[in-house]
């Protein structure tokens, strides 16, 4: 039996205060597509940076075709034949395709760049992956998907035998993604190995010959071709059964609490959105980045002005455009960027928790410090915020605990409608589960929850119902039993065939 193309053993990597990788093993066979999945912060990116020579491991061994190698630099990795296709593309916009393919290693004669060789070689490579554009096309004229293909071509031009793709479809249209998948399947046949990292588990299921799962910087398990299912991948990623992870228990729904009609925001002035959320219901707003979801929440909460539209809470009209009116009506918003918008990092937990509800706990015009402290302690307990005391600065808390503080601030007001924008971004798996539990508990007690998430698993796992947005309008609605990644993606990219309601 021949040695794997690449084998990593016992990889360790520490950053100040964090253990990013611990005893991680990974191997890639020749001509294989290996899916690498894990939650945010599970260590995927760090591992890939080590394989691409961008970072050095603290301990562990790397073997390339059976021989021990060191990768002190990206150059060393690419000399072996390892190429990392970044999430952010690294192409020179001002040059054409051929110049980009050979950027940094241009063939030359007598000190002059050998343009004819470059073009000849470029044609060959482009032909291999079957693209429609030629070597002289300026990069500026290409779409994002085409640029991604140029990146792959560049790796192939450098004789890469292992391509590492980190979220390659995150900014591609459905059509462009399909083109990319064809290229991947084709490359596999030609003996190129691919490590495919993606949050979109549906893609991983379609493409991968084998899946390796990371959790909290360690190997969580491996699935062979026939074992790969969405449920098994997620269970390994989160370390427990799915339903219990998202706390998705069936419960009774109440009357409609939040009604929005014809809301238009400055981002898509020509389109409007309407929606309803019932008491106890958890509604997910899915869509691509830039679909107008965050803008919708911000407009409802009055942070940004709405161009037009009506909002009713519990049947009563609430004027748009002022956070104070929204709060008085029972709305709460946990914003997308907790460090910039959700929290006062330089203040302690007590002040942060009390900030939104100071007005309501005032005696003879003065703030009651003991009452504030009691409130903060009560919420710290019920949300399981791990901190030494209510006096601890929020800046020193972990991401998960910070998010809980941002949530606690609103629970102090006992809202009727909770708007959550990316509720678990940058939060570790354990804290994620606790946040889902809290949301479930609140929903069971009658709170209406409307959340935006770019993580497909979260949308599918948490929501009782999903609304999909595209360019400022709701393009479809999916009930819990019809939830499926492909349906959501199709609606999110503007396809309306599924929205035949």
């Amino acid at each position: 039996m021949s040695a794997p193309l690449l084998q990593a053993r016992g990889i360790e990597k520490r950053f100040p205060g964090v253990r990013a990788l611990h005893q991680v093993d990974l191997h890639v066979e020749p001509g294989e597509v290996l899916g690498l999945v894990g939650e945010n912060g599970a260590g995927k990116s760090t591992l890939m940076k080590i394989l691409a020579g961008i970072q050095s491991p603290d301990a562990g061994e790397l073997r390339w075709s059976g021989e021990t190698v060191h990768l002190p630099s990206p150059r060393a990795a690419s000399a072996l034949g390892i190429a990392l296709i970044h999430q952010e593309l690294n192409l020179a916009d001002n040059l054409d395709v051929a110049a980009n393919l050979f950027l940094g290693r241009e063939p030359h004669r007598f000190g002059l760049i050998d343009r004819s060789t470059i073009e000849r070689e470029s044609e060959k490579v482009l032909e291999r992956i079957g693209v429609s554009f030629g070597p002289r096309t300026p990069i500026a004229d290409l779409s994002v998907g085409q640029r991604q293909l140029v990146e792959i071509a560049r790796a192939l031009a450098a004789d890469a035998r292992l391509l590492i793709m980190d979220e390659p479809t995150s900014s591609l249209s459905t059509h462009e993604s399909e083109r990319l998948f064809e290229v991947i399947v084709d490359l596999r046949q030609k003996g190129v190995s691919i490590v495919y990292i993606s949050h979109r588990l549906g893609e991983v299921m379609d493409l991968a010959d084998r899946v390796s799962v990371l959790r909290d910087g360690e190997n969580a398990g491996e699935l062979q071709r026939e074992e790969i299912t969405r449920e098994r991948m997620i269970s390994l990623m989160v370390g427990r059964e799915l339903d219990s992870f998202y706390a998705s228990r069936p419960h009774a729904l109440g009357d409609v609490v939040l009604e929005v009609e014809g809301l238009r925001t400055g981002m898509y002035p020509e389109h409007s959105a309407s929606l309803r959320v019932r008491a106890g219901e958890r509604v997910g707003l899915a869509g691509l980045v830039g679909a107008g979801r965050t803008e919708l929440l911000r407009a409802l909460f009055g942070i940004d002005p709405a161009l037009s539209g009506r909002m009713r809470v519990g049947g009563v009209d609430v004027p748009l455009g002022s956070p104070r009116h929204a709060i008085a009506a029972g709305l709460a918003l946990v914003p997308e960027d907790r460090q910039a918008q959700g929290l006062v990092l330089g203040s302690n937990i007590r002040d942060n928790v009390g900030l939104a509800s100071l007005d309501r706990r005032r005696r003879v015009g003065l703030v009651s410090h003991p009452a504030e402290d009691a409130l903060a302690r009560r919420l710290m307990g019920s949300l399981r915020i791990k901190a030494s005391s209510t006096d601890q600065l929020v800046a020193t808390l972990s991401g998960g605990n910070q998010q809980k503080v941002a949530l606690a601030k609103w629970l102090a007001l006992e809202p009727r409608v909770l708007l959550l924008d990316e509720p678990t971004r940058g939060v570790d798996v354990g804290a994620k589960h606790e946040i889902y539990e809290t949301i479930a508990r609140l929903a069971e007690s009658g709170l209406a929850v409307l959340f935006v998430s770019s993580e497909m698993e979260e949308v599918l796992g948490l929501a009782d119902r999903v609304l999909v947005m595209h360019e400022g309008r709701i393009t479809g609605e999916l009930q819990r039993d019809e939830l499926e990644e492909k349906a959501v993606l199709r609606l999110a990219t503007g396809g309306t065939e599924a929205a035949s309601r």
């Binding site: 100040p16 205060g17 909460f301 942070i303 956070p323 104070r324 929204a326 709060i327 918003l333 914003p335 910039a340 918008q341 959700g342 929290l343 006062v344 990092l345 330089g346 203040s347 002040d351 009390g354 900030l355 939104a356 100071l358 007005d359 005032r362 015009g365 003065l366 703030v367 009651s368 410090h369 003991p370 009452a371 402290d373 009691a374 005391s389 209510t390 006096d391 020193t396 601030k409």
Partner: protein, 382 residues
Amino acid sequence: MKKILGIFGLFAVICLFTALEADSFTKPNNIANLASRTGLYGVLGIGVAFVIVTGGIDLSIGSIVGLTGTLLPWLIIRHGWSVPAALGFVALVSIVIGLFHGLLITRLNLQPFLVTLCGLLIYRSIAQYVTDDQNQGFGTEYTGLRDLATGSMGTMATLMTLVGAVLTGFLFFRYLGVKRSEVAPKEQRPVLIGLITAGALTLVGLITWLTGSTLLAEVPAPMPFWILVVVAMICGLVLNDTVFGRHLLALGRNEQAARFSGVRTTWVIIAAYVICAVLAGLGGVLFTCDLNGIQPATLGQVFELYAIAAAVLGGCSLRGGECTILGIVIGTAVLRLLLNAFNLLGTSYTIESAVMGTVILLGVLADEVIRRFVRRRRRTAG
């Protein structure tokens, strides 16, 4: 807390040094004079602190002092206005100036530095224009009004007893509240320390008042110092214990997060500029009463810089969100003390500014060094 101890330590060291080097430092007259100066400038420092907390700045304070200080005698003496009417008008002018600053900064999104820099140029010019740049004063009249700045009430021992008693009462009730609500003992401690300090202050004041033998009982308490103490206590309460103050501190640290929490940031910021301008106006009234013969062109010149310096020395961060009123009072006292020491020690006045600048710089540097040290220790610990 530690900041205040630091600046208080600096204050004590300079006091001790000056007292040892110059006998006249401990004369009742000198101390009364020092307290009076601290009162006059301290009011301005507290005012600018409200603006600095928001992350803004007010450069027009000196010109507001000049304008209000000019208008008051001009209205009363030249135009025969009654004292309450003139005071009311001056207050109105200050409020309008503050609103003007606040509205330009929040509604039109102009930079505080620029808005108040223009104010600095405009208000002084108005003072010079309306008075034809003539000197203004009360002459020998209106001694009752002028007593606001030149008079005194009781001795420093009286002041200490009364202030101590008020603080003790306030902190006692707070301590009871904290005690009742199961706050962790570690967090009860600052309140307890404050209570003990206030109690001790009251006791010492009372004993010296009654025995009347020590220095404290011989120094008359000047009115400006009384005014400063009252203003400081009110502002301390506003900043730390009212919803407005808490909103102010929160928005100074993160304006966006405050807005997302339903804080009316626009109005809070406007109010901060109004408070600053009103306290500058109060300063103008006090200075004109104190000097009783002022030039519109020079009254209050560079006072904004003294005010900002005192606030920074007292622990305010120009980045916003950090401020203790007590620190500003001590910061002002340190600056006045330095000038007094120069005077008594016969040092050339030419290096006064340089030494003041150096002390402020050292204070800020020490603060930054401590901040970094704490941050590093926290990081290695956590």
